[in-house]
């Protein structure tokens, strides 16, 4: 494989950005964890190499249409894994999110993000668009199962990230607005009535379900420390490995959810705002390619991937700079976590495959019927 074939077969922008992000992730995780004598960065190196292989080779050997046809089986497998994790998973800090495979802790909710995009894309490509009310209900059922299973782990962050890309996909697909509007309005209007009829203990259960971390001092501490870390980076940062916030244990979870704060502290405004723009470009690029495609399946996968990357990155960064409460969402590609890195690489690989297979045909065949979605 030479450079030329990469330029020809792959989307060069997306390819370059994802590879650079993956390499950079090792550097940052080293900085965030070396002082604890931890070997996390070695594991990250391993997963990064695996991810690079995935991005390079999977687009050539796996056809995304086959994956779409298999999507329902994948969906069932994903749900089974989530049930398994609830029953036998490893408990860390009160949440059951991982399946221990000995050498590696598998986090099924990360894989579910990928699977749900494939499943919904497949579903949308098979039905009449815009979405009818009946199909809309089916879709709700499809998302509800993994959403609830992840929510009860408990992992509100991942549950939201299963839901949000689907909302974007539904938005792109369009719907017979009347029914769905009526449906949503109905729920909106009825909810205070239902709410008033609930017992106090039921209400408090619902509040706790929606926001378990409401009263947690922990998250207030995290946010303050993260904001100090980011702010103290100033324009050009304190320099690689020089972040005092992160090195002196002020900043918790700095290799996972708060990796952006470490970046902000060590690399400063110029790099961190560039990073924001990179995420923006990456997600818009994928959405744009999807927009031009004729194959409905590929199109909706692109919409799903693009919005997932954008939404997840922006939620995580907002959390790091005090714009959103802490919900436990990692930064795509950069946060530590083997399953997350692999599933994002798989998403990129699928995207590249779509780009390779579909783009040549679709840009010639742009009809008004296709452009509608």
């Amino acid at each position: 494989m030479d450079i030329r074939s990469i330029v020809k077969d792959y989307d060069p922008y997306v390819f370059l950005i994802s590879v650079l992000l993956i390499i950079w992730s090792v550097i940052n995780i080293y900085s965030a964890s070396f002082h604890e004598f931890s070997n996390l960065y070695i594991k990250q190196i391993f997963f990064s190499l695996l991810s690079l292989l995935i991005i390079l080779f999977i687009p050539r050997f796996v056809n995304y249409r086959k994956l779409l046809e298999l999507s329902f089986i994948l969906y069932i497998l994903g749900v089974l894994m989530l049930v398994f994790v609830k029953l036998f998973g490893t408990t860390v800090l009160g949440a059951k999110r991982w399946i221990n495979l000995g050498f590696f802790q598998l986090q099924p909710s990360e894989l579910m993000k990928l699977i749900i995009i494939l499943t919904v894309a497949h579903f949308l490509s098979k039905i009449q668009l815009p979405i009818s009310f009946k199909n809309f209900l089916k879709l709700i059922g499809l998302i509800a199962v993994p959403f609830v299973l992840i929510k009860i782990q408990p992992d509100l962050g991942s549950a939201l990230l299963v839901l949000l890309p689907v909302l974007f996909m539904v938005f792109f697909a369009g719907f017979k607005s009347r029914y769905i509007l009526v449906f949503n309005l109905g729920i909106l209007l009825l909810s205070p009535v239902i709410w008033n009829h609930l017992q106090d203990y039921q209400k408090s259960r619902i509040i706790a379900f929606l926001n378990p971390e409401e009263h947690s001092k922990e998250s207030a501490y995290q946010i303050i420390q993260a904001v100090i870390a980011v702010g103290s980076g100033q324009v050009i940062g304190k320099g690689f490995l020089e972040g005092s916030q992160s090195k002196y244990y002020f900043l918790p979870e700095q290799h996972t959810d708060f990796i952006f704060a470490t970046i902000g502290e060590e690399w400063g405004f110029l790099v961190s705002s560039l990073l924001v723009l990179v995420y923006l470009f990456l997600s818009l690029r994928i959405l744009y390619i999807g927009y031009g495609l004729s194959d409905m399946g590929g199109k909706f996968i692109c919409y799903g991937i693009g919005s997932l990357i954008g939404v997840q990155a922006f939620i995580n960064i907002s959390m790091n700079i005090g714009l959103l409460p802490v919900v436990g969402v990692p930064l795509p590609f950069l946060s530590y976590g083997g399953t997350a890195l692999i599933s994002f690489s798989l998403l990129i690989a699928i995207y590249q495959n779509i780009y390779r297979v579909d783009r040549s045909i679709s840009f010639k065949l742009v009809s008004s019927e296709v452009q509608k979605y």
Binding site: F171, G174, I224, G231, S232, Q234, V276, L277, L284, I317
Partner: protein
């Protein structure tokens, strides 16, 4: 119209994303460029520090309010290396520490401080008063150092009579911390015994103070503070006077190993629970030398094991009152039925002997209990059937954890299905014969010996045993009593119960009774001895006299006879004879308790 729609969807999302990115970049600009200086200063000079205050654990008292365990505060010196190093060099710090506080840093501590491996380092635990005063006087030399109050558990001398019941405390392991994120590493949690079982009552809640400190390590502002909550005091059902007497009597007997359980049959409150030998609780908790630890763990009398709850032994003849009642209730015999009981009993070619070769003659059930006549029970067991005996035994609560919090093990009550499942063979008549005198596959914990008698003397009630009498709830400022809990009630005919009780009475006062020594207790009482074989082959044929091959000695007893208030079970591991070893210990305990006015 259609054209506008298709144009919009992609663009709406793009615009949305761009707007969010703009907001984020502006926020970054605000934080890093406009307020950058301010935050840099914050991160350089001001630090948030979290101080955790661990509250004292609740105290442990006996039922009469005798103190068994409590907490005292100790002071420990901790250090925040980051602040320390901004103010002093490590060399200078080490020098001052030795000069003024007489503390020498270990190599490891020095390394931890100089390399910033941990947010805090404990410099010295359990400071003396002098060291605390000196630290305050010279605190300007020690920026970044703080004194923390850490509770320490103290066990009174009385606690040494029941170390197995009390258990011990320790710092949480990594596993504990993972399981319960509200714990912290400086917090004492129960690791065994009531310290562990009632940890949720005793523990209390740590306080947390987050403060802003300046570059010198001085507190500038308290950001948020949560007061610690003291743990609740608990009152055990144990009567420490009785426990002490039990310990002393067992010790005087010269026997090596065993258990004593005394309960109130009306409430099933545990008044005494002794596992012998014991160990020094305070030493155990504060750390012992390797030598001492080795001695404890390799001792063949297993001082660390709570035998009353965790040892499983065949009960022998103390099982007979239960078997008698089952036979009477099933109508197989009446209190007047007499059975000829010879010196031996045979099924086919197998011969089962009586412990007394002469046999017992033509006797009724009370008489059989008095003489502990094995051949009588062989025949009775075959008439009643093993299934029925096992069923009733289980109904009595044997083989079941009536209170799973405190009972660590439960016995095995064998029957057909059990044998098929575990030993993969079928049930023989010989098994029934063995079961009916409490031998064979039947094993119980010494505590369960009380279960075999309890419903006979309290009107058929199977109760939940309790070791916790009450606790003082600090929140509501009320003493919470643990209520008696009835698990089930069995209906027995009173003349059947009387026949069994009378048989047990004759064990003490009858002509042929096996525990006449109990007659020295000034209260009218009744009981049953038991001598359980351990290893038939070796003991019978090779005449071994190794300690671990000798028979187990048992004695169960209740008093006063007419309205039982105390049910006692004595177990002597490899004590050889229920009548000659276990019963005298019980007699000694109850006699002393009577003369010291502990029981009446």
């Amino acid at each position: 119209m259609v054209k506008i729609w298709k144009f919009n969807r992609f663009h709406i999302v793009s615009i949305l994303f761009i707007l969010v990115a703009v907001v984020i970049v502006s926020r970054l600009f605000y934080l890093q460029v406009i307020k950058g200086e301010y935050y840099r200063e914050l991160s350089d000079r001001n630090y948030m520090k979290v101080f955790i205050t661990n509250p004292p654990r609740g105290r442990i008292y006996d039922r009469n309010g005798v103190l068994l365990a409590y907490d005292i505060p100790t002071f420990q010196l901790i250090c925040f290396p980051y602040i320390l190093k901004k103010n002093h060099s490590v060399e200078e710090f080490k020098h001052n520490l030795e000069k003024y506080l007489n503390i020498t840093l270990t190599q490891k501590q020095e390394e931890m401080i100089s390399k910033n491996l941990h947010p805090t380092v404990v410099v010295k635990k359990e400071l003396t008063q002098d060291q605390v005063f000196r630290f305050w006087n010279y605190s300007y030399l020690f920026n970044g150092l703080y004194i923390e109050v850490v509770p320490k558990r103290v066990y009174t001398e009385y606690a040494n009579y029941l170390p197995h019941v009390i258990g011990y405390v320790g710092y949480p392991s990594e596993k504990d911390l993972n399981k319960n994120p509200t714990l912290n590493i400086n917090m004492l949690i129960g690791k065994a015994g009531v310290e562990k079982i009632y940890d949720h009552i005793l523990r209390g809640k740590p306080g947390e103070k987050t403060v802003l400190v300046d570059a010198m390590g001085r507190q500038k502002k308290i950001l948020w503070e949560e007061e610690p909550e003291k743990g609740n005091d608990i009152y055990l059902t144990i009567d420490i006077r009785l426990q002490k007497i039990a310990y002393e009597s067992f010790k005087e007997s010269g026997k090596e190993s065993g258990a004593v359980v005394i309960v109130d049959p009306k409430t099933y409150e545990i008044l005494t629970l002794l596992s012998y030998p014991t160990y020094d609780l305070q030493k155990f908790y504060q750390g012992m030398t390797l030598e001492e630890w080795k001695q404890l763990t390799t001792n063949k009398y297993k001082p660390l094991l709570n035998k009353a709850f965790s040892g499983l032994y065949p009960p022998g003849s103390i099982y007979k009152p239960l078997v008698s009642l089952v036979a009477l209730e099933n109508g197989v015999i009446t209190p007047q039925t007499k059975i000829l009981s010879k010196g031996e009993f045979s099924i086919g070619k197998y011969v089962y002997k009586n412990w007394d070769k002469r046999g017992c003659g033509y006797i009724d059930v009370s008489h059989a209990l008095e003489m502990s006549c094995d051949t009588f029970y062989y025949q009775l067991g075959l008439r009643v059937g093993a299934e029925s005996i096992s069923k009733y035994t289980r109904l009595f609560g044997v083989g079941e954890k009536l209170n799973p919090d405190i009972e660590t093990k439960s016995g095995i009550v064998p029957d057909k299905t059990w044998k098929k499942k575990v030993l993969k063979t079928s049930w023989f008549h010989g098994d029934t014969v063995n079961l009916s005198i409490g031998q064979g596959y039947l094993v119980i914990t010494p505590f369960e010996a009380t279960k075999m008698v309890l419903p006979i003397i309290n009107g058929g009630y199977v109760l939940k045993p309790n070791i916790l009498k009450s606790y003082f709830d600090n929140k509501t400022q009320r003493l919470v009593h643990i209520q008696k809990e009835i698990i089930r009630k069995m209906e027995f005919k009173s003349y059947n119960v009387e026949a069994v009780k009378y048989g047990m009475y004759k064990v003490v006062y009858g002509y042929a009774g096996t525990a006449k020594v109990m007659g020295t207790v000034p209260i009218k009482n009744a009981g049953k001895t038991g001598t359980a074989q351990v290893y038939t082959y070796a003991t019978r044929h090779k005449k071994y006299h190794r300690w671990d091959l000798r028979d187990h000695a048992w004695f169960v007893s209740f008093l006063p006879y007419d309205d039982p208030k105390y049910l006692t079970a004595v177990f002597v591991e490899h004590g050889e004879s229920g009548g000659k070893v276990a019963a005298p210990i019980a007699a000694s305990i109850l006699r002393k308790a009577y003369y010291q006015k502990v029981i009446d």
